[in-house]
Amino acid sequence: MKRWKTQLAGGAKAIAAAALVCVASQAGAADVTSDRLLNAAGEPGNWMMYHGTYRSWHYSALDQVNTANVGRLQEAWSHVASRAYRGLQGFPLAIDGVVYYSSPYNQVYALDGATGQMLWTYKQKLNEDLVAKQTHSPYNRGLAAAYGNIYIGTLDGKLAAIDAKTGKLNWETKLINSEKLTVGFTGAPLVVKDVVIIGSQGGEWPYRGPIFGVNAKTGEELWHFFTVGGNDDNGDARNTWGGDSWKTGGGGGWMAGAYDPETNTVWWGTGNPAPLYDWAGPDWATNGPRPGINLYTTSVVLLDPDTGKLKGYWQEVPHDAWDYDSSIGEFMFVEQGGKKYVVHPSKDGFVYVYDRQANPQKVWPFVKNINFVQSIKDDGTLVGRRDLREGKHDNLCPAIAGGLSWNAGSYNPKTKLFYRVGYEWCIDLEVVKTTPVLEPMAQLNIGAEFKFVPAKGEDRMYAHVDARDPVTGKVSFSIHYDVPPHASLLSTGGNLLFVPGADGILRAYDASNGKLLWSHNDGMGHNGGIITYTAKGKQYIAVMTGWGSLVGDGYGEWFGEPYASYPKDAGVLKVFALP
């Protein structure tokens, strides 16, 4: 059990006992060092980074709550966020008995993990005029913690370091000229050694989607890597964009990635190029708004955390003409048959299984309805691209929302199963030849009109939560959902799989066989993260509620009630424990 450093002020022994609880629990994030982050899996009672550990398993070994007793799980406490437009979409952190989480408009809270008592609240001073102009806004996907700081990326292009003990701003660094470019940060940062890494929004915006490395202690910007066209020493990459299209190519790396300490390599997913759809269709190599394969969009990039230098990459979809970005942040490090793999679910509906140098070893489809290609080979080669020329097209699958989405899945080393939500939906679209939109404040650069439709041969859009072998894709069990969940999953050493539903119901299943063991109505849809942690030796499960991501906003039309009536500005952190 981690010892807390206590700092008792003065000699007030009478209140020492009470102060001990409060002050001691605030010491937590001050003690988060690089070593603790590297060994995060050895602290199952803490959740110290977005994906849980650098291996992105979204798993905790905690088993105090398990299949035998989860039926008695009940609400322990909750916290209501203010101004929660588009709901709570992030992951909380839990460190040494303190829960930290972010809410829209870059607000951050530190709460006692056992009682929910507020320790401090932080509100970032934002350029609200700018935020009013942003489309993918005002939500935040999460925090990072190290060296006494809680780090958050802001909507107006800064990385802020908040003092974990006091909730005061320690420093902030302006990384993007968001006033000019509109784009900012929504993704969680990742701390690697003494560098904070964060990726900007990108895909739809006419800029180059940089990923940044910042000194974790001083806030000095150390490096940036342009996902569009790379940096000066990636000259070839710029030539994969015809004309000037690289200047406004989109890209971005808007989800936190992962880290391989064995090779000192950061793994990060990059976003799609702009415009999203390409009226040149099959002639995209020489014609259209962005001729070429458009490196390094819709790719997995391997970066040196200290220098930001590109060590390797795999472009999952060369010349992505369907908005299937590779930004999903989980890179699950698993071993099977004596081999080491990195498993990356991607928006196009495929799961890419790499070796540790990002060579594809196996590529398997998670969802049934895919027709933007006929197949993808195990070496990553696309076969039978369905490039869409200017004009009308029916039934492009998966839809623009993806066959897999940014909400995380989970890998459970006990069951050896990988759990995720797969989406079966498509779009009818009309690709339109438009004047390239180059004004950053206009944002977005889509290039088609579309509407969501069920796949041909299906009578509705739907989803399924599958338990699969992460390397081969073999299905162990599958849970059908008429209305797709759009929150992240959690699995535990207690053999539990938690699925927070769009319908507001949090469900716990037996992770071995998918049997439903417990459910609870959390009051509104889930569109964010879920973690488990301990405080004072007791296990808690904490889940975000709140609805209104850009995918979730469509549910009212596609699935009716209660989605159409969900509040647009509400979010509550709900925490559960055994009695």
Partner: protein, 147 residues
């Protein structure tokens, strides 16, 4: 309704054949590149034609002329590029944003919504488009008919 499907069949990937568009061609085969210096990973990649010489590193001050100034401002084009992410089927269908065809709001309300947005729901586009262009967008919305 949640249906549990224990021990499910392996789902069969149902991939439709390439669309019926007559001009759908196969992409050029990916050529291997043994000389690729950058990637630590050998991989097959398409070799693009060399583009025209590029400008030096772009600074934010060099961003191209705004759409608002472009002679080719086209309400439909803007709608397709920007508005359509949320207002689907060209504004004829509700998606993430409401259906705009036959919207009961007044012209002035539509104008103000585009210009000033709605907090947490829709961006303010008054910096991207001037008033005349926003009026053109409103006129486009009013012209929408079912397909």
């Amino acid at each position: 309704m949640i249906k549990l499907d224990i021990g499910a069949r392996v789902p069969v990937l149902r991939v439709a054949a390439a669309s019926g568009i007559a001009c759908a061609l196969w992409m050029l085969p990916l050529a291997g590149s043994a000389d690729e210096p950058k990637a630590a990973t050998p991989m097959t990649r398409y070799e693009p034609p060399k583009a025209a010489p590029q400008d030096s590193e772009v600074k934010t001050a060099d961003q191209p002329a705004t759409a608002a100034n472009a002679a080719e401002f086209s309400a439909r084009g803007i709608f397709t590029s920007i508005c359509g992410l949320c207002h689907q089927a060209g504004g004829r269908k509700q998606g993430a944003g409401p259906k705009l065809m036959d919207d009961p709001k007044s012209d002035e309300e539509l104008f103000n919504r585009i210009k000033f947005g709605k907090p947490g729901r829709m961006a303010a586009f008054g910096s991207a488009f001037n008033d005349d262009q926003i009026k053109q967008l409103v006129a486009y919305i009013r012209s929408l008919k079912p397909r």
